[in-house]
Amino acid sequence: MAAILEDRKRIIVKEGIKIGLQLEHSIKEPKSASTKEPKTASTTAPSQAAVALRMLDVSKSFSNSKGGSKVHVLDQITLDVKQGEFVSIIGPSGSGKSTLFHLIGGLLRPDQGSIFIHDQLVTGETGHVSYMPQQPALFPWRTIQDNVILARELTGRSKKELRGEAASWLEKAGLQGYEKAYPHMLSGGMQQRAAFVRAMMSPHELMLLDEPFSALDALTRSEMQRWLLAQWEEHRRSVLFVTHSIEEALLLSDSIYVLSHRPASVLKRIEVPFPRPRRDTLTRSADFVELKAQLSSLLQGDQSI
């Protein structure tokens, strides 16, 4: 345990805010970061840096069933999500982002490394996160209100009591009047909002959002981004967000981890300097465009290797 704590101290990432890419040390070489101070002032995250999620040196490979050859998917991933921080992960497709989520959610065990959620070692354990999948995956036999209470229901509480709690959440998501509707009666965007409410109502603080808007059309998508931004800025949950869209990541997050091609490792951790509350007009500002260009060349540079 002492060794793990020592390790953690070494990899604490400094979070000073500068304009432009705040490129930290490459996390693959944690020793170079040993003298960095914990962050002092930031408008983007609570000042007390309690950690909601910490992955330490997590690696995972899958053995190919045919040839017995191993596919190395994740290579020594180390990342932090502080309490109340919105962190995005971007990377080329096929870089093992779903595997990452399955590891954090406890569906898979890493070959090495450890995962902490709220300072508790949870490697390989389920039931510590709130998950929002790529597809809304609402249960078609449940009404909207019964869908959103699902995670709380699993703790053994009565449906009746929970339905009352769901009402105000659904109203905030603009789903009032749809409490007793079935998922197929809702549009794609509304289903995704219901899935988000389901994640918000989960008793687990840390939220994992797996490309939640990728299946939506462009118009609905930007509408949902704005909505998510407002919801998150109101509630400030700890979020780990996987996306393919650089713009989406920049608009929503406090920090962004850029993953490399397979086997995925952390190329960079980037602090997003824009103050909150954010508007989507931000996407037209010069700083935003500049950051976006740098990020995309970072991603393309990796892909061309």
Partner: protein
């Protein structure tokens, strides 16, 4: 709704009517003997003449069918639910269940009679054996096809094994369970008739055996018509229950048709 129901039922009804007309004309024009092939009108006349007797036999067969189907459905569901959570058991038993279907029911009847006598018991066993198969297979397939994303969601949220089953796997498998039940429902009438061939003194199966011995072809056709109607009735009952239990699927189907 009504209009749609008619547009669905119309074509098959017309086809049946056409067939009956052709049959009637063929028998009349070709002057087929009545004991060889009676005309539809002859059959209808015969049916009308023996309504009280037929009702009694039909009622007996219906009771047997319902009883056997209930046992078969319960047995089939229990087998599927027991095999599903234990992969080793499933791998061991599943092929046996498939192979068991190659044993003709008729061949089992003498054995069942030796073991269980002539009462209700061997007949129920026959129907149960016939019915459980499609239900078990359909239920197990349904349980295996649980949506991966929903499964991941439930497991990440910390659902226990039993919560996974009752809140996700079983409701997700229900449409599949009902297709198994519908197949079993039609099988159940046929197997009830076969079961009645072994010693009994009432039921449509028994009636058929009697009329065959007397070369009453017209009455044989009456019996066949009743068997068909019973099968349709069983199917309709299960479908009616399905509409109420799997309501989300029905409504999403109509939605898709509209859009």
């Amino acid at each position: 709704m009504n209009r749609r129901r008619w547009s669905q039922a119309g074509p098959p009804l017309a086809a049946v009517l056409l067939l009956l007309v052709v049959w009637q004309l063929a028998v009349m024009l070709l002057q087929v003997d009545k004991w060889m092939l009676p005309s539809p009108i002859d059959i209808a006349k015969e049916a009308a003449a023996s309504v009280p007797v037929l009702l009694e036999h039909t009622w007996a067969t219906l009771k047997l069918t319902l009883l056997g189907f209930t046992f078969g459905a319960a047995f089939g569901l229990i087998v599927a639910m027991l095999l599903h959570p234990i992969p080793l058991l499933k791998r061991a038993i599943y092929p046996l269940i498939i192979v068991s279907q190659n044993i003709p029911t008729i061949a089992l009847l003498p054995l069942l009679m030796i073991w269980f006598g002539f009462g209700l018991m061997p007949k129920i066993v026959v129907i149960t054996l016939v019915c459980f198969f499609p239900i078990t297979i359909a239920t197990m397939d349904g349980l295996m096809q649980t949506d991966r994303t929903m499964l991941h969601y439930m497991r990440m949220a910390g659902a226990s094994r039993s919560q996974l089953f009752w809140k996700l796997e079983l409701p997700h498998a229900l449409p599949s369970v009902f297709s198994g039940l519908k197949i079993a429902a039609t099988y159940s009438v046929m197997s009830a008739i076969v079961a009645e061939w072994l010693g009994t003194d009432k039921g449509i199966g028994y009636y058929m055996v009697l009329q065959k011995a007397a070369f009453r072809t017209d009455r044989m056709f009456v019996a066949i018509a009743i068997v068909v109607l019973l099968s349709i009735a069983m199917f309709t009952i299960v479908q009616w229950i399905e509409r109420r239990v799997v309501h989300w699927q029905q409504s999403s189907k109509t939605e898709n048709e509209l859009s």
